[in-house]
C-alpha cells in the first residue's frame, strides 16, 4: 500500500509542476491583515531554537554556483529588499497572513552566478532541517530570503538570520536558519518529505 501511495505522490509532483505558473503571483493582502504575533511552529519548542551569531554566521554556497564565497549577515542585509504580505499555509490546515521583507532569491542567484538552468535548489539549516524546491519556484518573484517579519529583524525563533519565504508552497517548504544554499540537478531530500509528506507541496 505504501508503494501505491508513493506512486500517487510522485504523480502529484508531476501534476503540481505542470500546474505551477511561474508568473502567477500569490494573492497579497493589506498590511493591516498581517498578523503581528505570528504562530511559532517547529518540532521543538522555541527555547531550543538555534541562536545564530551575526558576527560568526556565514551562509555557505555549494553546487552549481559561480561564486561560492560565503556571505556574512552584513553582506546579506545590503542586498535590495522587497516586502510582501502573503498567506502562509500550513500542511496541517491552519494559515496565517504575515508581512515578510527580504531579497528575492532570483536577485541573489544573479549575484552569485547560480546556474538557473539547473533543476533544484537545496537548503541546509542550523536546526538540522533541510529542504529543497524546483528551480522554477526558487526563481518566482515572491520567493525571498526573508530578513524581516512584521518590519522587524527576523526574531531568533522564526529563523534568524533569514528564512526562505515562498508563498507558492506549503509552510514546511519555507526553511528557517538557512546556513547553506546549493544548486543541483539531483532532487534533494526534505525533512518532512522524508517523513512521508509530498515533495512538491505547491499551493
Amino acid at each position: 500500500m505504501q508503494s501505491i501511495l508513493a506512486r500517487f505522490s510522485a504523480w502529484n509532483d508531476r501534476v503540481q509542476e505542470m500546474l505551477f505558473n511561474p508568473n502567477k503571483l500569490a494573492p497579497t493582502f493589506p498590511e493591516s491583515a498581517a498578523v503581528k504575533d505570528f504562530r511559532y511552529n517547529a518540532w521543538y519548542d522555541a527555547k531550543s531554537a538555534p541562536a545564530l551569531d551575526a558576527a560568526s554566521y556565514r551562509l555557505s554556497l555549494s553546487g552549481l554556483i559561480g561564486n561560492k564565497q560565503p556571505w556574512t549577515v552584513e553582506q546579506l542585509h545590503a542586498l535590495p529588499q522587497v516586502s510582501q504580505v502573503t498567506r502562509h499555509v500550513c500542511v496541517e490546515g491552519w494559515s496565517m497572513i504575515g508581512k515578510w521583507t527580504g531579497t528575492p532569491l532570483r536577485t541573489f542567484f544573479e549575484r552569485i552566478g547560480a546556474d538557473t538552468t539547473a533543476r533544484y535548489v537545496g537548503f541546509e539549516c542550523a536546526d538540522g532541517y533541510y529542504e529543497s524546491m524546483d528551480m522554477a519556484t526558487a526563481l518566482h518573484p515572491q520567493t525571498i530570503m526573508a530578513f524581516k517579519l512584521s518590519d522587524e529583524t527576523l526574531p531568533r525563533k522564526y529563523g534568524y538570520p533569514f528564512k526562505i519565504r515562498v508563498p507558492t508552497k506549503l509552510g514546511f517548504k519555507n526553511p528557517k536558519f538557512v546556513t547553506t544554499i546549493y544548486v543541483t540537478n539531483l532532487r534533494p531530500h526534505g525533512f518532512w518529505t522524508d517523513r512521508g509528506y509530498n515533495w512538491f507541496s505547491g499551493i
Partner: protein, 219 residues
Amino acid sequence: MSATTETEVLEHRWPVRLTHWLMAAAILIMIGSGWRIYNASPILPFRFPEAVTLGGDVNVALTWHNDPGVASAIAWHFAGMWVLLVAYLLFVAWGALSGHFRRDFLPVGPTSFRRDFLAAARFQLRHKLGEYNAVQKVFYWGVLVLVLLMIVSGIAIWKPVQTYPLVDLFGGFQGARIVHFLGMAGICGFLLVHVALVVLVPKTFVAMVLGRATGGHPS
C-alpha cells in the same frame, strides 16, 4: 396485497456499478483520511476519534516523526481524490450520454418529492427495483452536487494560489475549509440514509453488485 410474479429486473448496468463502487471506496478513503487531516488543525472544538480515521498507526507515526499520521492521511487523501475524480466524471458522463439520468433521475419536482417524502415518513413508500421514487432522485442529485462541491472546494484548498481567485468564491482559504467540512457532513448524512435504506431493502445491494436482482413489483 398480492405479489406479482417474481421477475428479474435489470437494474444497474456495469458502468454504473463500477463507478458506484469506485466512488464508494474513494469517498470512504476521503472521509477517513480527511478526518485525520482535520484533527491536525480542527476548525470546530472537537476531533474525530483516531480509530475511525485513516492514515496508519498513530503511535508508529508519532514515534517516527512526532506527527499523528497526518503525512500518510494526506497521502491517502491525495491518492483517493484521483479515484474519486475519475469515477465521478465517468459516472456523470455515462449518466448523461447513456440516458441513465434522463430515464431514471428525471423527472423530479417538488410535488412528487413531497408526495413520496410523506409516504416514506409513514413507511408506506414501496421500493420498486429498477425505478426510483422522487425522494431517491433528489438524494442522488443532491449527493452528486455535494461531491462536485467537494471537488471544487478541495481544489481551492489544495491550490489556493494557482487557482486564485477560486478560493475567494468560498470567502477565502478558511471559508473553503469550512465549505469542504460542511460538504463532508452532508455526504456523511447521505451515506447514513443510503446505507440504512439498503439494510432495509437488501436486494438493492444485490442489484448494485450483480446488476440484477429478483424482485418484481409488489403492488
